[in-house]
């Protein structure tokens, strides 16, 4: 069975539940996460949850600002990542 894709909604739920970011307005798939308070400390917490929840291992080289800029970008990248490592 191929691994299920990760939706932006799943990523948003994680960001809110784990209080990774601190948005003034509700998060959308296209919200700029860095504008919502994502800094290096928050990103480290996010990486921790991503590795635990989605069973991926993220190398420092993969951690680009673009991939983590929005929930949509992050979900798309994680989905690709899961497919290629499955």
């Amino acid at each position: 069975m191929p691994p299920a894709d990760i939706s932006p909604a799943t990523v948003i739920a994680l960001l809110i539940e784990q209080q990774i970011v601190d948005p003034s307005d509700p998060l959308t798939p296209e919200s700029d996460l860095f504008a919502c308070g994502m800094d290096s400390l928050a990103m480290m917490q996010l990486l921790l949850h991503l590795e635990r929840d989605f069973a991926v291992r993220i190398s420092p080289e993969e951690m680009t600002r673009e991939r983590f800029a929005t929930a949509a970008a992050l979900a798309a990248w994680l989905s690709t990542r899961k497919r290629t490592s499955a």
């Binding site: 003034s24 400390l41 480290m44 921790l48 190398s59 951690m63």
Partner: protein, 403 residues
Amino acid sequence: MDTLDIIVAGGGSAGIAAALASARQGARTLLLDRQSNLGGMGTNALVHTFCGLFHPDVARGVQWLNPGIPTEIGQEMLRRTGQSAPDLMGRVYVLRQHPTLFALLADELFRAEPQLTRLSGAEWTGLERHPQGWKIEVMAQGVRRELHSRALIDTTGDATGARLLDPALCEQTEGARLYRPAYVCAFQQLAGPQDESWRLGLGAMIFRAIRDGLLPAAAMGAGFRESPFSGEAFLTIDLEAGQAHWDPFDPAKRAEVEAEGRHAALALWQFLRQEHPSFHACPPPMLPTQAGIRESARYRGDYMITGEDLAASRQFADNAALAGWPMEKRENARGPKFRYFDNPEPAGIPGRCLKNSAVPGLFFAGRCLSADHEALASLRVMGTCMATGQAAGKLAVDFVAGR
């Protein structure tokens, strides 16, 4: 025995402002401090940002929030660090300060006041009320001394006066929820720019190393921020400090926390020097005199300001200072949780938070003012401590003058 007008206990941001405000109004003032650098957390713990100096509505641009000493120190720090403006970080303005320059600036401001004297290395060991004022006992360089004053301002951050006089005058949040201590050290001879992508890349590298067992778990609370001077950055590590077991008044736990901070800082230095090009030429980081303490004990004053008051930007008839920094809660080492004011308007801090009618002539300001745990998350920052310190200095002068 010579009786002073006002004794200020504690030489941090609040104490500096209280002593200057008092001496500038002509009161014979003495400041005692256990450290040798004035500046408190801003020098001895290398806390390198002045928060709380600006109006919370960033749409208005940079507006200094509290006139007088907070603005004077902030503007002078801007000038001496060669910055043109504070940094806009998300929804707030922050002024990067340099601990060395803060200590020197405080020295200069003190030297300019003939009415102001200062004792360094003085541990406050006793307090008694007398009809004419206060008897304060200090231990300095192994010698016990008695000091007398008509009014007293406690800017120790720890409500030391309350704990010496009557512990019922203060309160303390339980260990599990106390805002965590932070260990800050200075890295020098860094190569290349230290911008946001540099910080993110560094975070990703540190994260991987922790997960792979190459760095201690405490490094998860580590973040770098650039100094106003090139080639230098400050590393801040928020420490769990045993979470529920944390007690800032237990010297054995303080020793553990200091050692935990040093260990994490040195492990990061060794790792980054090997692995990250910016750090290849870095000497070992400069360590702080002590870990940064965000919360210990607070006074119970005539009024205890709450998080709700701040969120509603409430104003009081006896406003003594203004708060503009969001409630920056750090109950764990996993990063701050911000609670912003409902509207970007400053909140008032009433003079009743700086005194208790049951103990006339005793004032308090800075981190140990009368506030609940939630409100303290905003009021503890250095810019606001300067503002409440200044206000307490003025209240003490009024008290001595019989006003």
